[in-house]
């Protein structure tokens, strides 16, 4: 029971498959992910790695042709996979809040900001003026200048960065225990991106919630997160504290990903590093390690043995059999 209270979200051994006309696609396989209370956990991975499927599963918003084939999702110690409709609505509108990639489409364009911000508090036992005060306070908190006078404005009257701030404010007004931010800065310019990251970091300090931050940008993960999980082909191949993972990456995929980031290459190079090969076809998942086809250090056993997480340090583990070998040798 003590373990339950320490983590707000605990995904254990989660597997999800999509039924397609060509057969079952293994979207997630044995995913473990823990979001401790008050921490920011990043998920990083390239397109098709299963990031979106994972958060859809956590919110129980998987499309109709998807099925959870195993594992469990504990939110606040309660099994999300066993929740009924009423409990799910409470979970989505109260326990977990989402901030999406595109701030333009995430806000209803025909409602004013004030209306959006008071409507989102429908669960609170407050009068409308009280809700307005709360809305204004939250808009100020996320850095909207002249919040009072802008309540009657509509989403299109704000810039992209401001809309994303409003989306964050709306999410926080529901008092979530967990905020899921899915690539929240992808649609923004760099200077605006830096401001949003700064805002999220500041918010974490004073609302003491947890954030699950999904991104493909290693730089943002390093800037913001306490812990990070690296996903590849539907698996979490490595997870750990952000410092340990960036300085001492254990999995060859993490190493390759870090090597590829042009921002980490200090000197100008003519030939940028790449990861040769392609993501495996998950209709026919590899029998052994998912990264074996692209890994520079593949040995025969990689193709036959499914790697289990190997500990590399406190809370730091990677799914690679070669690490085990090295430790044993």
């Amino acid at each position: 029971m003590s373990e339950r209270s320490s983590a707000i979200l605990e995904v254990k051994d989660l597997s999800v498959a999509y039924a397609t006309p060509r057969g079952a696609v293994r979207a997630l396989a044995h995913v473990d992910l823990t979001v401790p209370r008050g921490e920011i956990v990043g998920i990083v991975g390239e397109s098709g790695c299963g990031k979106t499927t994972l958060i859809s599963a956590v919110l129980r918003l998987l499309p109709g042709n998807a099925a959870v084939t195993g594992g469990s999702i504990l939110f606040n110690g309660r099994e999300v996979l066993a929740m009924n409709d009423a409990e799910l609505r409470r979970l989505r509108g109260g326990g977990i809040a989402m901030v999406f990639q595109d701030p333009m489409t995430a806000l209803n364009p025909v409602l004013s900001i004030g209306r959006l911000m008071t409507d989102v508090q429908f669960r609170e036992q407050r009068s409308t003026p009280e809700k307005q005060v709360a809305a204004i306070a939250m808009l100020r908190r996320v850095g909207i200048p002249d919040a009072e006078s802008r309540l009657d404005d509509y989403p299109h009257q704000f810039s992209g960065g401001m809309r994303q701030r409003i989306a964050i404010a709306m999410a926080l007004l529901t008092n979530p225990s967990l905020l899921i931010a899915d690539e929240p800065t992808t649609a923004l310019d760099v200077t605006m991106e830096a401001q949003i990251i700064h805002l999220l970091r500041a918010l974490r300090r004073d609302f003491a919630g947890s954030i699950l931050f999904i991104s493909h940008n290693l730089g943002l993960i390093a800037e913001l997160c306490d812990r990070v999980a690296v996903m590849y082909a539907g698996e979490v191949v490595e997870s750990g504290p952000v410092g340990a993972l960036f300085h001492n990456p254990g999995h060859p995929y993490t190493q390759a990903l870090l090597r590829c980031d042009p921002a980490r290459i200090e000197r100008r190079t003519a030939e940028l590093p790449t990861i040769p090969g392609e993501v495996p076809n998950l209709l026919v998942p590899p029998t052994g390690c998912v990264f074996a086809d692209r890994c520079p250090d593949t040995i025969e056993r990689c193709r036959t043995t499914v790697p289990v997480p190997v500990s590399l340090g406190p809370d730091h583990q990677a799914r690679c059999i070669r690490i085990d070998n090295a430790a044993a040798a």
């Binding site: 605006m192 290693l218 943002l220 390093a222 800037e223 300085h247 042009p262 030939e271 790449t274 392609e278």
Partner: protein, 327 residues
């Protein structure tokens, strides 16, 4: 050496109100200047990166150069010859000399055409190329490192990286001297970005291409461009060799852009934000130095007098009263 492309005071205006409204509000400026008097040169077989945030006019500038947008002023010379008016039939000749790659790798390919047809399309438009278009399409696919049997697929069946390579093959099919690439790595995974950039630099060396890269991705620009031009509100605010600008940016905006790049190192977190606020609207350009509203180093003169784009060192220019790198 004669520059391949010479751009002189190029200006692009977009009308923002009709004639009636213009008379009603009695304004003499019924337009916004998306590109305001931009001048630069591009040497053959070199790469210039045009950098700026959304609304800086960099995409409009690229489109004006290839004749998709009508400039309202200035002149553009290609190998010493003036480019004709946009509507002129003569434009078609220039389109063989320069090609453009658009942002969205999949969305910039006509969705109902196969890869083979897409690659042969430019040759068909110009009635150019060898008799056997199929063989030429295969040659181009090989050039960009795609297997020949991909030719029968449709754009939506391609991965982002594959679609981008098809875009490169299309751009190169007419043997251009200059390729204007608008965000060539947008929407691609980081490992695929490297592949595309490596392909582009290999082709540059093999074919002697010049690139005009339009991007906001500074991390990538550093490795692929020779020179950098930074735009803010449709104006150039700094130009110079890429390496030098990265080491010592002169304009405060360039400095802020570089500082805003996320650092993939958890020990080097930036705890402050250098640039606050937003890019002003083109309809309400700030007076004098247009960056003074956000500049951390603004002085009284910055609110009163507009700085010129002036030399601050060999090959370097900046539009600032107090350039950071000159001292």
């Amino acid at each position: 050496m004669q520059p391949l492309l010479e751009v002189e005071n190029l200006t692009v205006r977009f009308r923002i109100m009709g004639l009636v409204r213009q008379l009603l509000v009695a304004t003499s400026r019924p337009w916004v200047e998306a590109v305001a008097s931009v001048s630069f040169n591009l040497a053959p077989a070199s790469t210039l990166a045009l950098v700026g945030e959304s609304g800086s006019g960099k995409t409009t500038l690229g489109r004006a150069l290839i004749g998709l947008v009508q400039p309202s002023g200035g002149r553009v010379r290609f190998e010493g010859a003036d480019l004709p008016d946009r509507s002129a039939v003569a434009w078609k000749r220039w389109r063989r000399q320069m090609a453009m790659m658009f942002q969205d790798p999949v969305g910039s390919l006509s969705p109902r055409l196969t890869v083979r047809a897409l690659i042969a399309e430019p040759l068909a438009i110009h009635g150019a190329g060898p008799q056997d278009l199929g063989a030429e399409a295969r040659r181009l696919l090989g050039l960009v490192g795609l297997p020949a049997d991909i030719g029968g697929r449709f754009p939506h069946e391609l991965s982002g990286g594959q679609a981008r390579r098809v875009g490169v093959a299309r751009a190169l099919s007419l043997n251009p001297r200059l390729v204007i690439a608008d965000e060539p790595t947008a929407g691609l995974d980081v490992s695929v970005q490297g592949e595309v950039l490596n392909l582009m630099s290999r082709l540059q060396q093999e074919l002697g291409l010049a690139y005009l890269l339009i991007t906001h991705n500074l991390a990538m620009v550093r490795h692929v461009s020779d020179r950098l031009a930074v735009m803010y509100l449709g104006r150039l605010v700094e130009t110079g060799p890429t390496d030098e600008i990265f080491i010592r940016p002169a304009h405060p905006y360039t400095h802020a852009l570089l500082a805003a790049q996320p650092q993939p190192d958890p020990d080097r977190r930036r705890l402050t934000v250098e640039l606050t606020g937003e890019v002003p609207s083109l309809r309400n350009r700030p007076p004098a130095c247009e960056f003074h509203t956000r500049c951390p180093f603004a002085q009284p003169i910055c609110r009163e007098e507009a700085p010129e784009l002036r030399d601050i060192g060999p090959e370097r220019k900046a539009r600032c009263h107090f350039p950071l790198a000159s001292g």
